[in-house]
Amino acid sequence: VTGLGPIGEDDIQAAVDGRVDAPRCGLVRDYLERTPDAAARVEALREQKDALRERLQAKAEEPIPARLRVAHLSGEIGRRRRGIFLRRAAVVAWLVVGGGIGWFAHEYFQGHSTDVTSEAIAAHRVFVVEVRHPVEVAAAEEAHLVQWLSRRLGRPLKAPDLAQHGYRLIGGRLLSAGQGPAAQLMYEDQNAQRITIYLRADPEGRGTEFRWAEAGGVGTFWWRDDAFGYAVSGTADRKRLLGLAETVHRQVAEASR
């Protein structure tokens, strides 16, 4: 409906709506003056438009219902968003609580033994590499070593004999565990491969079965027996460590009988 082209249907509609572009105003007016049919049609459509507006006007004059007030709606939206937020927060909270429960349950049911394991592995790493002072008390003083460790750990100990596996005792040392003393016994095979037995009181532990743990290339089999935790650690393969652990377990059980 721009420019000065011939009058078309768009011009008729624009005339009805009073939206004829300024440059065409004269053209359209002239056309309607010359064409009574078109003028009558524009007039009829204007009346129709007015009738429609009039008929619908009552709806626009009604007061806005409370539920369509912006203040009300933004409150609703805020409430809904808070609801969504709270639901999400609740999910997160449950995840956290669940994680916490899981964590503490883990600590409670397994934590002690896991501690024994990590202590054992850490101690193994620290002392196994020692060439000059791998042990505090050498195997030559085995009687003294066993007596000393037994006294400190509060339980009669006996150094397991692992000769059947090719390992000989080279000595032991007293260590500080989280809550009290721990003992480490070190063995070595003819290739100077070392394994350690770590033991300490573990009064709150549960279960007596063998378990396997591994960290940084050091493997450990650990178990509990009569409120004591034992761990046999080394870089030997798992099968070999298991054989060693079984022997230690059997000898400890026999000694405590």
Partner: protein, 169 residues
């Protein structure tokens, strides 16, 4: 909230009128407006600052109307022509003449897209450009729908009722 209310609320009467003209059901129309306003408020930050707020609101309303319609159609719900042609009893218009009654009855007989243009341009005073934006169609489409819609209404109001009904059916 006060700014928002001051900007939006002046348009609410027109939105209600448009919604009612489309649906001709008080509760359904206000539901539609409420839906529209909730969207407008929650998407307030997305509107173009320099844009036409009135057209933006009408566009939201219209889009809600279309998607509700489609949902109804998917559910298999359809409204019979006769049902649409029934005048909603509005006690306040007892003084209204037969012509006005007929305008609304005729309006109900138009296809949705023609009715929307006739209302947006003729009643809500949107420019052709704004109506095109609201409906998401080219301005030429707005003009042709306007022409056809108004012509149908005119023939109906001129007493061409049987022909009209035949054509619609």
């Amino acid at each position: 909230v006060h700014d928002l209310a001051a900007l939006i609320e002046p348009h609410v009467p027109a939105l209600r009128r448009y919604a009612w003209a489309l649906l001709r059901d008080d509760a359904a129309a206000d539901d539609l407006v409420q839906d529209c306003l909730e969207r407008a408020i929650s998407r307030w930050h997305l509107r173009r600052r320099d844009g036409n707020l009135r057209a933006w609101l009408f566009a939201i309303l219209h889009n809600r109307f279309i998607s509700d319609r489609r949902r109804q159609q998917r559910r298999g719900h359809h409204t019979a022509i006769d049902e649409l042609a029934v005048e909603p009893a509005s006690p306040s218009d007892a003084e209204s003449g037969a012509v006005q009654r007929d305008v609304l009855a005729a309006l109900a007989l138009l296809p949705d897209e023609q009715r929307a243009v006739v209302l947006l341009v003729g009643v809500e005073d949107l420019s052709y450009e704004a109506a095109a934006r609201v409906l998401g169609v080219p301005i030429g489409t707005v003009m042709s729908r306007l022409s056809r819609g108004r012509e149908k209404l005119r023939r109906y109001l001129d007493g061409d009722r049987p022909a009209m009904l035949r054509r619609v059916k």
